[in-house]
């Protein structure tokens, strides 16, 4: 990909108003020399070119934007338009400055964007290069080359990172961190220590569950044994009583009666409770109340035939169901009163209530069932009475047998039965406690097995959740370490590759004054010397930058403010000869005093592909220049003159501009 500078326009800013087109028939010259006296706005124009390329002006403060306004001017706005060529495709960035609001707004146009769009919208293919850090590598002042050799600025490292997008590795690490943070937020424990706490809790609950299960089995087994023993004892008593002819028959009969009465009692209890569960049978007044409730709903016409939904939907229509238009007023009224109606779903529940009342409570069904309920309660009473009677008789018989038992064996056995029954009851209390449903007040010390199991499930779920979080954390750290290590390795390899490449080019460019790069760290470290001459510094700087920029198959323009600066003749010749070799497009913002030796060196490889431009402000100090303009190649605006041509370029002489830009 090739990016070329095709020109720019500046209007209403502190730099002169100018429309500068470099491209002709889709081609831009290899060298563009723009000569401007000091104070014409070179630095401002460079800053605007960078801002247009990167979109950075959107973040400028009102003060920064205000500084762009020409001193003494009253125009409320200014515009800067930058034209680029990306391969053969135009890409235009326009910045509109509002000095009153202190704001900058962008527009972008490109065929790939479908034309003009609002905002700074860089096409994807070129976006990675038009970042602030990357653009500063090819839009700079000559001091930048000097900083490349100074470790405190770390410019060499920054250049490599920007070119090779090593910051992507930093961003990868940052994304992994924020993903982990988002995923683990609100989960409490996120560390191995937190995980261990929950694991300990789980282990403790598992032990408790096992203990309780074992205890439950033990209690049940114990109760079975006790019941069996108690039953055997009871049988033993019964047998002993039956051994006595006096008690045998009666005892057997009474036991049978008690057993049957017990069965009858159990059945009657179940039947009564089955009826009790029906409120309309529990008491007739509940039933009548339900009927009355249903009747009152009917009288009130509830639910209504129309529901709230009907009116809400009606309010969305243009016309009422009667055909009349619904205006905003009617709509408001409908919506206001719609709330008085019941919703569709609530109407359904009310209808279901009415249906249930009809089904369970109405009419003959109720009367018949109520009658059955009364019968069952009588039956319960009768069964209980019968049971008590039989049991009482049996107990009396047993007591008599005990009295006649001179050896008191029966009493002894009965005592054992009583003891066992007591134990059975205690065990059953514990069994009930272990087997009951969980309550929200149960803690880890509860006897309730269901509660322990619930807490255990929660602890296991929590562990799974934290494990996932901890594992994710470990993976995040691994990714970050990988990214950091990759960055170091990539940077080291790139440095070495670039060092070799730069040194090869330097050997060609500075054959008479050889200098080699010993190492590329944060800055460029030179072989056998700490510093370099100005010329050498520029040579090394330009070589390095162009090597960095030309990695891969991409070409970038070099746009430099004061490329020759304070260089002496010899160095100017060296740098001037070097530049056409180093890059495909070089644009220099220079002052007239930089021309000697530098221009000749630039022209040493031919003048065909060089564009010579001179730009100066219209002012009292430049009146004589305006009077002496050539007949061709001149473009004037209200406050500036642009002259295109080598001859004028070479003869132009002007001290500093009266106005400082």
């Amino acid at each position: 990909m090739k990016i070329r500078l095709a020109g720019w326009d500046s209007t209403g800013l502190r730099s002169p108003d100018v429309k500068l087109s470099l491209a002709e028939h889709g081609k831009v010259p290899r060298l563009v020399l723009l000569q401007m006296p000091n104070g014409t706005g070179k630095t401002t124009t460079l800053n605007l070119i960078q801002a247009a390329m990167t979109g950075s002006a959107a973040n400028w403060t009102a003060e920064q934007i205000g500084d762009l306004q020409r001193a003494g001017a009253t125009n409320p706005t200014g515009t800067f338009v930058l034209r680029l060529l990306v391969d053969t495709s135009p890409l235009v960035f326009e910045i509109h400055f509002d000095f009153v609001e202190g704001a900058a707004a962008y527009r972008t146009s490109s065929p790939s964007l479908g034309g003009v769009v609002e905002g700074w919208k860089c096409p994807p293919t070129v976006r990675r290069f038009l970042t602030e850090s990357f653009a500063s590598l090819f839009v700079f002042d000559a001091e930048f080359a000097d900083r490349l050799l100074k470790p405190q600025f770390a410019e060499a490292e920054r250049a490599i990172d920007a070119l090779c997008q090593l910051d992507l590795l930093d961003r990868t690490a940052a994304v992994a961190e924020s993903d982990w943070d988002r995923a683990s937020r609100g989960q409490g424990a996120r560390t191995p220590q937190g995980l261990n706490l929950y694991r300990n809790r789980r282990d403790s609950l598992e032990k408790r569950e096992k203990d309780l299960s074992r205890a439950l089995k033990g209690l049940k087994r114990n109760n079975e044994l006790l019941k069996e023993e108690a039953a055997q004892h009871e049988k033993s008593i019964a047998d002993r009583i039956a051994e006595s002819q006096k008690f045998r028959e009666q005892s057997q009969e009474l036991r049978e009666r008690v057993s049957n009465a017990r069965l009858r009692l159990a059945a009657a209890s179940l039947q009564v409770m089955a009826y009790v569960r029906q409120p309309q049978l529990l008491d007739d007044r509940f039933g009548r109340a339900l009927i009355a409730f249903r009747d009152s709903l009917d009288r009130a016409r509830l639910p209504e035939a129309s529901s709230r939904q009907f009116f809400l939907e009606l309010a969305e229509e243009a016309e009422c169901i009667c055909g009349r238009p619904i205006s905003d007023h009617e709509r408001g009224q409908i919506l206001e009163h719609a709330s008085k109606y019941l919703g569709d779903e609530l109407a359904g529940v009310i209808n279901a209530i009415k249906a249930d009342i009809g089904q369970h409570v109405g009419g003959d069904v109720r009367v018949a069932e109520r009658q059955l309920y009364k019968v069952s309660t009588h039956e319960l009473g009768a069964a209980e009475a019968e049971y008590h009677e039989a049991d009482t008789a049996l107990q009396a018989l047993t007591a008599e047998a005990f009295r006649e038992d001179e050896e008191k064996q029966l009493m002894s056995i009965q005592a054992q039965i009583t003891e066992k029954r007591g134990q059975i009851e205690e065990n059953e209390d514990q069994i009930r406690e272990i087997e009951r449903s969980a309550r929200s007040t149960d803690d880890e010390n509860t006897l309730c097995l269901a509660a322990i199991r619930k807490q255990l499930r929660e602890a296991r779920d929590k562990i799974a959740e934290i494990s996932n979080t901890v594992r994710m954390r470990q993976e995040t750290v691994a990714i970050q370490q990988l990214a950091a290590r990759s960055k170091i390795i990539a940077r080291d390899k790139l440095r070495e590759v670039l060092r070799v490449e730069c040194n090869e080019r330097l050997r060609r460019i500075l054959a008479n004054d050889p200098i080699q790069i010993k190492r590329i760290g944060q800055s460029l470290e030179l072989e056998k010397q700490r510093g370099a001459s100005v010329g050498q510094t520029l040579a090394v700087g330009y070589t390095f930058l162009t090597s960095v920029l030309h990695r891969g198959s991409h070409d970038f323009p070099l746009i430099v403010d004061s490329p020759a600066g304070s260089l002496d003749d010899k160095v100017r010749r060296e740098v001037g000869a070097m530049i056409p070799v180093l890059c495909e497009q070089f644009t220099a913002f220079m002052i007239p005093t930089e021309r000697p030796y530098f221009l000749q060196a630039l022209e040493s490889r031919g003048t065909d592909d060089i564009r010579y431009l001179t730009l100066f402000r219209k002012s009292s100090g430049t009146q004589t220049l305006i009077q002496g303009l050539p007949n061709h190649g001149v473009t004037q605006t209200t406050n500036a003159v642009l002259v295109d041509g080598r001859d004028y370029f070479n003869q132009f002489e002007l001290a500093d501009e009266p106005e400082e830009s």
Binding site: S269, L270, L346, G348, V349, D429, R432, T441
Partner: protein
């Protein structure tokens, strides 16, 4: 929101609750307390009462909406709402009925039902201070207690046969 009954109820009923017996679930206990609460109109808030289910269990699914209706009737009486007043009745229905909940109850509905259940348990322990040991005896006491409370109730007296509504 769920059905809630204070933990003491579990202790009180434990002598007569068995897996296969007449009183076999927590909901049976809740229902018995609830009906006594509705019969007497006694409703007591008991914060922190443990929850157990948020739906009517199988034994009560057929009469679930009847219980909801009885709640509305009791509340209408408590709040002085005439069942003939369409607007007031609609407001009550809106307050307590939630068509989107399996139990068809709003949070307010659950809360109020729980209040009646807790009030009913208070009635129960006042009437039967010693926890019962025999379910058949308890059931007879309970059914008689209900009848007695209904006889003396403002809410339900009007529904006595022959009485004017």
């Amino acid at each position: 929101m769920s059905f809630r009954l204070r933990a003491e109820a579990g202790d009180w009923f434990k002598g007569i609750e068995t897996k296969d017996g007449p009183i076999r679930t927590m909901f049976d206990q809740y229902y018995l307390c609830l009906m006594l609460g509705l019969a007497t109109g006694r409703n007591e808030r008991f914060p922190g009462a443990p929850e157990f289910v948020d739906y009517f269990v199988t034994d009560f699914s057929a009469v679930a909406r009847l219980l909801v209706a009885l709640l509305v009737i009791a509340e209408a009486k408590r709040l002085g709402v005439e069942l003939a007043d369409k607007g007031d009745v609609k407001r009550l229905l809106d307050d307590y009925l939630d068509p989107n909940h399996p139990a068809n109850l709003t949070d307010q509905g659950f809360q109020k039902l729980n209040d009646y259940a807790n009030g009913g348990f208070s009635e129960l322990v006042e009437a039967v201070p010693e926890r019962p040991r025999h379910v058949e005896t308890f059931l007879q006491i309970y059914t008689a207690l209900i009848a007695d409370k209904m006889n003396n109730s403002d809410i339900w007296a009007r529904y006595t046969e022959g009485a004017s509504a």
